[in-house]
Every structure is written in structure tokens, then in C-alpha cells.
């Protein structure tokens, strides 16, 4: 199948390209940009005038709920949501049921995703067996099965020596270590940032120090082991400072931030809005602003959706008992684009942190449109305004604090391996 994406503004940050031109896809790969390849005859032509054509988005963290929590969502529903959000590559954390700590699990998820034929799925392997933080997982075998990174999802590895050995072992097999920096004791049963809002609402806290203390430990271990680490989410200004310092010292550490942490703060919790219950918690406005600056400065290299679909019941509970998480795949691009509206970053930078940035963190060949690359493409209209209506989400999760908000920028077409897997039915 051949597809011609005609007349769009092609932004491909990895190749420093930002130009109006035609993109030619054939046999599942990018054939060329600008010049029509000899003998090219498109099966389908997308009129991309006034649209932006960029690499398909790479999301470093999305819960797809399968296997184990199919009552919440399935690979099929969530991968449909992914491509509707322009996402063509998704990493899923290992905290499925069963845990992704065996090659069989990795293969099962990859095969199932391949059969569905929407976005590509990269399972993150478990760092410790059953995520229990007690014994190393069979990381080399997980790597052979296709994992490019290992991590412990949001389970802590309390034993510092074990974490050090896990990093050393992962580094032996060139596996990136995904780290969720949150000290389990300081986190406790907390659910909100320690600050004015927690004091007013009387909710148990996750102090900033819970992240900073854990981050300091992981950075010290990364430095001495030489492993490559990725902090799956940062939420506060102090973490940004620590990361910047570590990167200056050439410690191999990258970081991502969720789209919601770039827009919301503890104040959005208002009077117990459980849609704003997320972990790490939404922090102060100053923290949010420093995350934005860090994203612009390159200290943070990727925006993730931290997609966590829930049934609505999970949010109909007293705040501390509600399930944390936001259904984020279908608002990821628009929320990221909002940063350009607010002049935090420019458009090429936004596209970088959604495509080439996360691909580089993962160390995979994705997130660019070089000739010969897999034809994973997102075509979006940066001008369309739409009202978020969670009941219209493709995701099974309707849990979003952005419901009813007007956002700008909509995915019109998503192409995976040269096939158009999503067409916007609204516009």
C-alpha cells in the first residue's frame, strides 16, 4: 500500500526538517519527502494542506490494562485510543497481572498488539521478580524477548543494595532502567502534595521530599553503576534542579513529565475533585512552572500521557480512596500543543518531546521520518478547537479532569507501518 500525504507542513525534528512538502509512504516505510519516488502511485492521498505532518507520537508510559484488568480496558480499546491521539508507539509498565517478568509475557503482549495492528507496544520488563523488590528478574531473557527497558512500575525497591545490583545487571545487557522516584515511607498512604491544599482539605500528603529523596538515591546509584536511567515522571522544581545537576555531571539520566503535570496544580483539586487524584501528585503552581521551563531547556526530554483508564466507579469515592490516574492518550497532543499557545515552547520542540525525544530515551528507531524509517505518521490540524467529551473517548477510561474544556489541535490521520489506522470522523 502506498500513501501520499500531500502539501502538509512536515515537522521532523530528528532531521531538522520543518517545511511544506509531500510525504511519500510505501511498503510500510517512508519512501521520501519532497521528491516523488520513481514509479510511485498512491493507493490513497491525504490532503494535508494547512495540516501538520509529524512522526507518530511515542508515549513512554500508558497503562493498557491487559492482561489482568480487562474490566477496565483492553489492548484493543486503548490502542484505538492511542492512534486516535496520534500515538503510534506505546510503552506499557510491567504492573500487569501477571507481571511482565517473563519472556512469555513480553511475547504475548507484543503478539497480541501486532494482531490488533494499531500502535506498536513496547512492554517494559519487570526489574525485580513479580515487582516485589526482592530478587532480580531474568533481565537478559526479557531483553531477548524484546524489552528495551526494565523498571519496577510504581512498586518501590526498598533495598538500596538490590537496586544497585539491578542497575548493574541491567547495564550489562544494555537495558535502560525506568525509575519511579518515590520514597515509599514518605509517600505512605498519601494522596496529595503537601501544601496549602492538603492542609485545607485535611488529606494525607506525599511531600515533595518523597520524590527528591528517592531521586537522589537513584542518581547516586546511576552514577556509580554507569547504568542508564529514566525517571518516568518528575513533579517538582527540586527534582528538576537535581536532574540538571546530574546531567551536567554526565550521569546517564533522562526524565519525562506527564501532560497533566504541565497544566494542573494542587489548586485544581478544588473541593476534592477526584479526577485530579494522580501519583505523583499535582504540586504547586511554581513546581508546574519549573517543569515547563525544564521541558523547554531539555532537562526533561519527553512528555508522556501517564494514561490510566479507570471505570468511573473508581473516581466516585472519597478522595483518598479513589483510584489515582487520568485517561490521557486522547488529550496528550492537544495538551502538549497548548504549551505553544502559552509560549512555553515552540512547535518543533513540542513535537520533539512527543516523538524523537522519547524514542531516543528508549533507544529505539522511531520518532522520525527519515527515508527508510517505518511509516508511523501523525497528521494533525493545529487550529481546530474541540471540547473534550470523555464519553466520546475511544479509551474505556472516561476519567479526565479536562472534560468539558476547549482544547486546540486535533489528530486527523494516524498512519502505522504505512496504513491509515485512524481517520478523524468529526472533522
Amino acid at each position: 500500500m502506498s500513501v501520499l500525504i500531500k502539501g502538509g507542513r512536515v515537522i521532523d525534528p530528528a532531521n531538522n526538517i520543518d517545511q511544506i512538502g509531500d510525504l511519500f509512504l510505501s511498503h510500510g516505510i517512508v519512501a521520501s519527502l519532497g521528491e516523488e519516488p520513481a514509479g510511485f502511485s498512491p493507493d490513497e492521498t491525504i490532503d494535508a494542506r494547512n495540516l501538520i505532518v509529524c512522526p507518530g507520537l511515542v508515549d513512554l508510559q500508558a497503562r493498557l490494562r491487559e492482561p489482568g484488568e480487562e474490566h477496565k480496558a483492553t489492548l484493543e480499546t486503548e490502542l484505538t485510543a492511542a492512534v486516535a491521539g496520534g500515538v503510534t508507539t506505546v510503552c506499557c509498565p510491567p504492573d500487569t497481572d501477571p507481571v511482565i517478568d517473563t519472556p512469555a509475557m513480553v511475547q504475548m503482549i507484543k503478539q497480541k498488539a501486532r494482531a490488533i495492528g494499531l500502535a506498536h507496544v513496547y512492554p517494559i520488563g519487570a526489574l525485580t521478580r513479580n515487582l516485589a523488590g526482592q530478587q532480580l528478574s531474568d533481565m537478559a531473557a526479557l531483553g531477548d524477548a524484546g524489552c528495551v527497558a526494565v523498571g519496577n512500575a510504581d512498586q518501590s525497591v526498598d533495598n538500596t543494595l538490590l537496586m544497585r545490583r539491578a542497575m548493574q545487571y541491567a547495564a550489562t545487557f544494555n537495558l535502560n532502567v525506568f525509575l519511579n522516584a518515590l520514597d515509599p515511607w514518605l509517600k505512605g498512604n498519601g494522596c496529595v502534595h503537601e501544601g496549602e491544599v492538603s492542609t485545607r482539605l485535611g488529606l494525607p500528603v506525599i511531600p515533595e521530599a518523597a520524590e527528591v529523596v528517592a531521586l537522589a538515591r537513584e542518581l547516586a546509584l546511576l552514577e556509580t553503576t554507569g547504568a542508564s536511567g529514566h525517571i518516568t515522571q518528575v513533579s517538582c522544581a527540586r527534582s528538576v534542579e537535581k536532574l540538571a545537576e546530574a546531567q551536567t555531571r554526565k550521569i546517564a539520566v533522562t526524565a519525562a513529565v506527564s501532560a497533566h503535570h504541565l497544566h494542573l496544580s494542587e489548586q485544581d483539586i478544588g473541593e476534592f475533585d477526584t479526577m485530579c487524584h494522580v501519583i505523583p501528585p499535582l504540586r504547586s503552581v511554581q513546581d508546574r512552572d519549573s517543569l515547563r521551563v525544564a521541558l523547554a531547556d531539555g532537562i526533561i526530554g519527553a512528555i508522556c500521557s501517564d494514561h490510566q483508564p479507570h471505570r468511573l466507579d473508581a473516581k466516585l469515592a472519597p478522595f483518598s480512596e479513589s483510584s489515582p490516574g487520568i485517561s490521557g492518550l486522547e488529550t496528550l497532543l492537544s495538551l502538549a500543543l497548548k504549551l505553544t499557545e502559552e509560549q512555553i515552547v515552540d512547535l518543533p520542540r513540542v513535537i520533539t518531546v512527543l516523538t524523537a525525544g522519547p524514542a531516543r530515551i528508549l533507544g529505539i528507531d522511531a520518532g522520525h521520518l527519515s527515508p527508510g524509517a517505518r511509516a508511523n505518521v501523525c497528521v494533525f490540524d493545529p487550529h481546530i478547537e474541540w471540547r473534550v467529551d470523555a464519553t466520546e473517548f475511544y479509551s474505556n477510561g472516561e476519567n479526565t479532569p479536562f472534560n468539558g474544556e476547549i482544547l486546540k489541535g486535533r489528530v486527523m490521520f494516524t498512519v502505522v507501518d504505512g496504513s491509515i489506522v485512524y481517520r478523524n470522523r468529526h472533522h
Binding site: T199, R200, G202, G270, E271, A317, P318, S320, E321
Partner: protein, 325 residues
């Protein structure tokens, strides 16, 4: 904005969930009306027909004797039918259960729910999911608020002191876990209190509490200097010892209210406590039973104040009903 949830479309108070966001006029009305209800308790027939034919459910997911009983008496004095339910919540699927429970009870045509729960925000959650003719009164939600307690405290203060604008008030003890303290701080602030102090060790003072308009002290003697009102809080020793405070002995030495310490305050100081008191832990017996103590009067006042609050949230409906006649 969700913080307006306790008001109906016409701006009338329809639930009583939090003191925060109420104005001085509303608080004064509740206190004034409570004055008139006090006399009912002193009559031979202690009943008025204000809520006749109405049903009130006391739904307590947390143990309580004092608060539940005063709500029950208050409702009965207003001629409401009262059902007491001491429910317990299982640790799984709590949210679903609590909403289901209350919807079931709502289907039985309950007018007022008095809710106590150990999670902050439960009464907000329930208020959000109730039809407009159902009223929720928060009888304590987690560490968030206990607004009727704060109102009875304000009522008690007002009966003994002239003007809040002249008062120095100290709130002493476990501020961190106290829903009473949070409601008291809001109420005192709204009523224009000159100086609100919170006193406790740093492990029991929530972060940024100053932003609620209080001055913080970790030295009890210093904090009590010249105050007109001392409001003690109950210490939940069983879940704190060794974690938030080292021992009850050490706590009492530093933060226990003794006769000597009361002398640092104004000579006419009044001492209050929401109860039940821990004698010898946060307060010495001679202070609890002493001449400055209003602890039992608080209980009596609690009935009138709760009558006033029930009448207030039902106000819109009663008047519309009268208009129908």
C-alpha cells in the same frame, strides 16, 4: 466551582459541609437562631414542630456517642423522625458502597443525612450525588472539617465574650489530624477574631497552616500568653505514640494544659474541649473540672446549635412548602 456545592441555585445554604466559604452573616444567623433554640431545652415540653414529618438519618461510619446523640436530640426537639445507623465500611470498594448505601436510604425519602466518616471529603461526595431536596450535614469527615462542632464552639465563646474582634484564641494540640481545628480556624477567621494561634509540636502542625490566617507556636507557655480562649484538641494517642510524639509523659510535660499554664492566659480565660477528654494527657483534671472550663456547657450548646443548623439547611424547603399552602 465546586466549593459552592453547599448552596442551592438561589444561593441558600442547602448542605452544611464546611465552614470555609460561609460569610459572617450566615454564621451570625445560625448563632442567633441557636439562642432562641436554647430556651426550648429549658422548657417543660422541649419540642417545636419545625421538622415534623421530616426524616433525619444519622449515618455514622465512625464511632461517636456524643455527636450522634446531640444530633438525635436536636432533631427530635424539632419533631423530626430520627434513624440512627452505625454503619461500617469494608476496606474494599468503599466508594461504591457508600454511594450505594446513601442512595438506598435516599430512596426511602430521607430529608437530612448527618454523615460522619473517616475519609476527608465524604460529605462533599455525597452532597454532589444527592437530588436537591436531600440535605447533608457534615458531622466530621476525616481530617477535613467538623463544622457543627466549630459552630457550637463559636456559640459558647459568644455567650461568654463580647466581640470576636477583641479576642486572642489559642487552639492547642494535634492540629494535623484535627477536623475540629480546621473548622474552628475558618469560623474564628470569618467572625473577625483578632489573633488565632495554633500550638503544638511540629509533627502535629500541618504545613502552610499560616495561610489559613493563624500564628503558630511550638511553645505552649509562649502561645498561651494573654489569650482569652483556650481550645484544646483531643489527642489520638494510640496511633501516635512513638511516631508523632515520643510518649504521653513527654507530651503532657510540654503540651498538657495545667493550672500553672492557664495562669499565663487572661484571668477571664475560658477553656474548651470538643471531648471526649484525655485527663492527664492533653489536659489536667483540675483544669477540665475547674472554674474556667466550659466543657459541659459546650455539650448543652451543641444541641441548640445543631437545631439551628438543621433548620437553616431546611429553610428553603420549609418556606417553599408554606408558599404552596
Amino acid at each position: 466551582m465546586k466549593s459552592l456545592i453547599q448552596f442551592d441555585q438561589d444561593g441558600r445554604l442547602t448542605h452544611f459541609l464546611t465552614i470555609r466559604g460561609l460569610n459572617r452573616e450566615t454564621l451570625s444567623e445560625i448563632l442567633d437562631d441557636a439562642e432562641s433554640f436554647i430556651s426550648i431545652g429549658e422548657r417543660q415540653i422541649r419540642k417545636v414542630p419545625l421538622l415534623r414529618g421530616r426524616t433525619l438519618v444519622n449515618l455514622f461510619f465512625e464511632d461517636s456517642t456524643r455527636t450522634r446523640t446531640t444530633f438525635e436530640i436536636a432533631a427530635k426537639r424539632l419533631s423530626a423522625d430520627v434513624i440512627n445507623l452505625n454503619a461500617s465500611r469494608l476496606s474494599t470498594n468503599k466508594g461504591e458502597r457508600i454511594l450505594d448505601t446513601i442512595r438506598t436510604l435516599e430512596a426511602m425519602h430521607t430529608d437530612i443525612f448527618v454523615i460522619r466518616d473517616n475519609a476527608s471529603g465524604t460529605s462533599h461526595l455525597l452532597a454532589e450525588h444527592m437530588p436537591p431536596h436531600v440535605h447533608i450535614i457534615n458531622a466530621g469527615d476525616g481530617r477535613h472539617e467538623h463544622p457543627t462542632q466549630a459552630m457550637l464552639d463559636m456559640f459558647t465563646i459568644r455567650r461568654h465574650k463580647k466581640d470576636f474582634g477583641d479576642l486572642r484564641v489559642a487552639i492547642v494540640g494535634d492540629i494535623l489530624h484535627s477536623r475540629v481545628a480546621r473548622s474552628q480556624i475558618h469560623a474564628l477567621g470569618i467572625l473577625g477574631t483578632r489573633d488565632i494561634r495554633v500550638i503544638g509540636p511540629r509533627t502535629l502542625l500541618p504545613t502552610e497552616i499560616e495561610r489559613l490566617g493563624v500564628n503558630t507556636f511550638s511553645d505552649l507557655d509562649e502561645g498561651l500568653e494573654g489569650v482569652d480562649v483556650i481550645m484544646m484538641l483531643r489527642l489520638q494517642l494510640e496511633r501516635m505514640e512513638g511516631q508523632l510524639i515520643p510518649s504521653s509523659q513527654e507530651y503532657f510535660r510540654r503540651y498538657g494544659l495545667t493550672t500553672e499554664r492557664v495562669r499565663r492566659a487572661d484571668p477571664d480565660v475560658i477553656v474548651m474541649h470538643p471531648g471526649p477528654i484525655n485527663r492527664g494527657l492533653e489536659i489536667a483534671s483540675e483544669v477540665a473540672d475547674g472554674e474556667n472550663s466550659l466543657i459541659l456547657e459546650q455539650v448543652t450548646n451543641g444541641i441548640a446549635v445543631r437545631m439551628s443548623i438543621m433548620a437553616k439547611v431546611m429553610d428553603g424547603q420549609n418556606s417553599s412548602q408554606e408558599a404552596d399552602k
